[in-house]
Symmetry: C2
Subunit: 428 residues, 2 copies
């Protein structure tokens, strides 16, 4: 057993330790609960957490007599995802006290694998702009990022080894990077979103936040509903495209330097690394993304708009919802068509690379809790429906985490994981 | 005002009559309720219908002081779609008594436009194989088709002018054809499905059932959340591809004859009509469709499988769910990729046609209530994500309705409506 407290075990380590009879789900849960009790006052990652409910789940798991793929692993669930035994309030007072009838698919599959639902993590309002109470675990004056703020902060703070978020723009990769965790946004369409509040269905995916790439790969298999398969050996150096993107000037100088140094180091370690310039049309992707996400978001909130307009934050009303209501169907449709075409362009571009190396965000988590940071470094890839991983490879000028984002072609999620492990090892 | 009872008005006629002060939402609702009371014992279209709730809505609409695009129009809602004021039970005893907190997006947008939610229509179990209690309004010994059985039967029987269903394979077009109504399945992705039970997200859409193409076009705009726009004049004869499909031999001889006669008649009326042969690969579409819909369905029902396995019908467990649980991720992913490629092939094929003319089903509604009929004539087009309309153009050998299905390219829904009106006029 690793010489560290149970609440700092990875998911993979927890499952092994329980399978070997060296610990129990109850012991893991107690360790996490104790640690959370100490850290939560500063971090405020949880919207709902009932220690008695956690321990009752843990005791039931210890009695189950089988060892699931996530046996005894505590998992945080973003509060836009339905849970049958805990409230689900979508980051808005409009839904205060709401308790869904059944678990979302991802929650049911987590439980089936022996995972323990630790609680509901803080989300921004309807997984959009307006922040919740969560603070960055590395500096309480800074944002944890959003919209999966609590999921990223809980993992980053060391409270739980795994958490589920979602991503429509940057909502998993950005907070995971700001909170020093591994973040994963899957190929669009792979992981079912039944029971998850729809922000913009053409772009939404689940997102996973973890302490290791292995844990992300394991949890992905659980959520795909397939038997987990170990990752292939990652001895082969990947073909890496270093992609500064057309918004490189939005990247902070220190982040630029960190990524450039990283690219050189990976080349020295044996990877083929070459610069990738995105096609000129890619500069239009973010606008198209904004129209699509606003059009769909505004319609998905039809009930709240008509019944509780005054309880929606002014920022959400005056930006996303107003944009969405003002957007014509033709603008929306053309934006959707444009992205579909660019996805084929991107497939072709990726013929020469296994992964792209690119910023996860402009830099460290910004100061202040009023906003969740620049989303542009994720919006491009979210729009391409491709899988993305952020790795906590760097520290910025204030000693805070800065992520390196890796991107692969659609459906190449496992190849992405293998490359991510190689990159992580080569740059450590 | 047309010389017919209010419950036989189209949606467009109801809105005009109310706007002109010639009738009221209450009068329309009362007429529908009275007619339903007479027909429902034979047809059994409704899973939930509370006359007092209907009349309360109607009275509120008459007091609203504005005339919405669907002012006073009674609409049936398939019981896999959430309603805040009525139960939603998904065609299964597992969810008996469930009452959602909020309206699905499509229900909220219907109410915003002044539509009146008449009640919840019968669905097959989880919108899948296992039939509900509904009978064909033209012959109680025959299936109404499914899975939107009650929605199609309610419109076909003359109980309401509009109903919402869904389609993952054939679930709107087939029952609309069997019940002698106009059915419409939109371009995939256009109409938000928030608050609608997901069967298979990669294929699911809403579906609309109506008495006229105009009504379908109007309701589509309402559900897109845009200001309704009149259809363009349909004086131009469309370019029609007559598509027997590779499963023409599954089509009953009389249906073959009806469609061939129709194609000739449309050519005589001035349309350019030519035979379309589908690429050989299209014969693999239905298999790909089956893997995708089964893989996703089985995961989406994770909670019900783990908590209420015994309450799921044997037919559903032994077919769709078993197929889905047995399907590997790789098979699923390859099937999804294959369909994505074929969609591009189909886009190219449609360069020379405005619409395809093709069967909506093999023939009349089959005898018996144990099954909902052959889905193959819809599975192809559902998989292509294209818009489809069925028109009640024919009568079969038993005097029962037989539909003609028209297909357009993705995003060409309005062109499809214009062509459908032309076809309807030219063949009457």
């Amino acid at each position: 057993m690793p010489a560290k407290p149970l609440h700092h075990f990875t998911a993979t380590e927890i499952v092994s330790a329980i399978a070997a009879g060296k610990t129990t789900a109850v012991a893991v849960a107690e360790s996490c609960l104790e640690y959370i009790a100490g850290r939560e006052p500063q971090v405020a990652a949880w919207h709902f957490l009932d220690p008695q409910l956690v321990l009752a789940q843990a005791r039931a798991l210890d009695k189950r007599g089988t060892i699931g793929a996530l046996q005894g692993v505590p998992v945080g669930i973003k509060d836009i995802i339905d849970t049958s035994d805990m409230p689900t309030e979508y980051g808005t007072p409009i839904h205060k006290g709401h308790r869904p009838r059944i678990d979302a698919t991802c929650v049911a599959l987590t439980r089936r694998a022996g995972g323990l639902i630790m609680g509901k993590t803080v989300t921004t309002e309807f997984a959009n702009f307006f922040p919740g109470k969560t603070r960055n675990p590395f500096d309480p004056e800074r944002t944890p990022g959003g919209s999966s703020s609590g999921s990223a902060a809980a993992v980053g703070a060391g409270m739980v080894p795994l958490a589920v978020g979602t991503q429509t723009t940057a909502s998993t990769i950005r907070p995971a990077a700001f909170c020093g965790s591994v973040g994963y946004r899957p190929t669009w369409g792979d992981l079912r979103c039944a029971g998850v509040m729809e922000a913009s269905g053409s772009l939404d995916t689940l997102g996973l936040i973890a302490r290791s790439v292995e844990d992300v790969a394991l949890y992905r298999d659980v959520l795909l509903g397939v038997t987990p398969l170990a990752l292939p050996a990652d001895n082969t150096a990947p073909r890496i495209g270093f992609c500064r993107t057309h918004i490189w000037d939005q990247c902070e100088p220190e982040t630029q330097r960190l990524l450039e140094t990283c690219a050189s180091r990976l080349a020295q370690a044996g990877a083929s690394v070459s610069d990738v310039k995105l096609p000129a049309e890619f500069s239009r992707i973010e606008d198209a993304h904004r129209w699509i996400s606003s059009f769909e978001f505004a319609r998905n909130r039809a009930w709240e708009i008509d019944h509780h307009w005054d309880m929606i934050s002014e920022r959400l009303r005056n930006n996303r919802i107003r944009d969405g209501l003002d957007c014509s169907y033709e603008t929306y449709r053309d934006a959707r068509d444009f992205l579909e075409q660019q996805r084929l362009v991107f497939d072709d571009l990726m013929a020469d690379y296994d992964v792209l190396l690119t910023p996860a965000a402009a830099g460290e988590a910004p100061l202040g809790l009023h906003a969740t940071g620049n989303a542009s470094f994720c919006a491009i890839w979210t729009s391409m429906h491709v899988p993305a991983v952020t790795l906590p490879l760097f520290k910025g000028p204030n000693g805070l985490p800065v992520g390196a984002q890796l991107i692969a072609r659609r459906n190449n999620d496992r190849l992405l994981f293998a490359a991510a492990r190689w990159v992580q090892r080569a740059s450590s």
